[in-house]
Symmetry: C2
Subunit: 236 residues, 2 copies
Amino acid sequence: MKRYRKEYEFSYALGMTVTFELLLSRPKSLRAVYVHPAVTKNDNYFKLIEKCESLGISPTESEKAFNILSPKENCFVIGEFEKYSMALDEGEPHIALVSPMNAGNVGTIMRTALGLGYENIAIIEPCTDPFSPEVVRSSMGAIFSLNVEVFKSIDEYRARFEHKLYPFMLTASLPIEQVEFVPPYALVFGNEAHGLPEEFAALGQSVIIPCTDKVDSLNLSIAAAIGMYEARKRTV
Amino acid sequence: MKRYRKEYEFSYALGMTVTFELLLSRPKSLRAVYVHPAVTKNDNYFKLIEKCESLGISPTESEKAFNILSPKENCFVIGEFEKYSMALDEGEPHIALVSPMNAGNVGTIMRTALGLGYENIAIIEPCTDPFSPEVVRSSMGAIFSLNVEVFKSIDEYRARFEHKLYPFMLTASLPIEQVEFVPPYALVFGNEAHGLPEEFAALGQSVIIPCTDKVDSLNLSIAAAIGMYEARKRTV
């Protein structure tokens, strides 16, 4: 039991809900389950224990695990899992996140994507570690039901996939309400602070979400949500 | 200079961007500006100083203010402001947040609302303090351009306004794509963990944002963003 580091081959699902998603969606990757001595032994707890046992894992009662991994949080169950590799599905629409740095944003986008029917997420380096406990937790466990693949550059992604790119840019001239999304497509979103570099406009049909002039831009996870929601409706 | 508490008559804008919004949108509420000795003296900094001086405020250089108010954050400018009261505009659409508890969600919703053209936010108690530095910061200063009013209950809100209510509920049967939003209207969103109580269905036309069955629900700030975005388009 060690504080998480990106180079480790394992990571942690913090919390009951997230650990449940791990057990249900990636049971083969499960290495251990830790339970806090003060956990409330309610129905969900017993369901969790039952599910662990059906997978041949005995939960370990340990306060120490929580002190190390979740010192400040209201967290009573931790799942430890082996990282796994996932390849994006060629025939499905993709979400491409270029250099996202905020774990909360990436996790929230994962959860939104799964809710709106997008199951393939490309992440372009440099980026926050998509397997960090913060991303896993912000995704509410959605990461365990998605294909998430990290690429060194947008060129590496483009060499692998023929998806038509729709870069979301503040400098784009076409409002999303006028775009036709032609499958297979990728919705491309930039970094929280800087958006996408200008050269992305040449890689596909750039798109803007119309906004008042009273804000500089929408939050990344909000823009991605509106983009995913509207693109689904406007897919031809 | 004291750590913020809800009962104080003043609060703080943490960071250069947020303080700038305060100076531009609520100059009369400004009480003081603190600058960290290590602030980068770039163009934005000099613009800030100039703006302060035009308002008759001399920024105070102080490291202590930052240790107290923003010990962990990458923050070099703080604006202190007197809280003010704001009344919602009767003729405009409203966003009503019922018992939101997470400051980041409320701030993000404020920023999204301002970006999508909603300038009136009702918040129903119990709720997170909308003037807390966390909300102000998450809003990126959008709060200074909005009318935000806190109500003791939804009944108190309904006694003041005749807005047609559209409660967003997972148990609603009408998908948002089939709703006509009749002005003046209020989009009503529930608490992060529990959503809206069932009795809200009787208060107006309940609405659901269609989702896959792979997530329990969308994050509150995401649902509010999609709701605001689509309602604008479907206003009759």
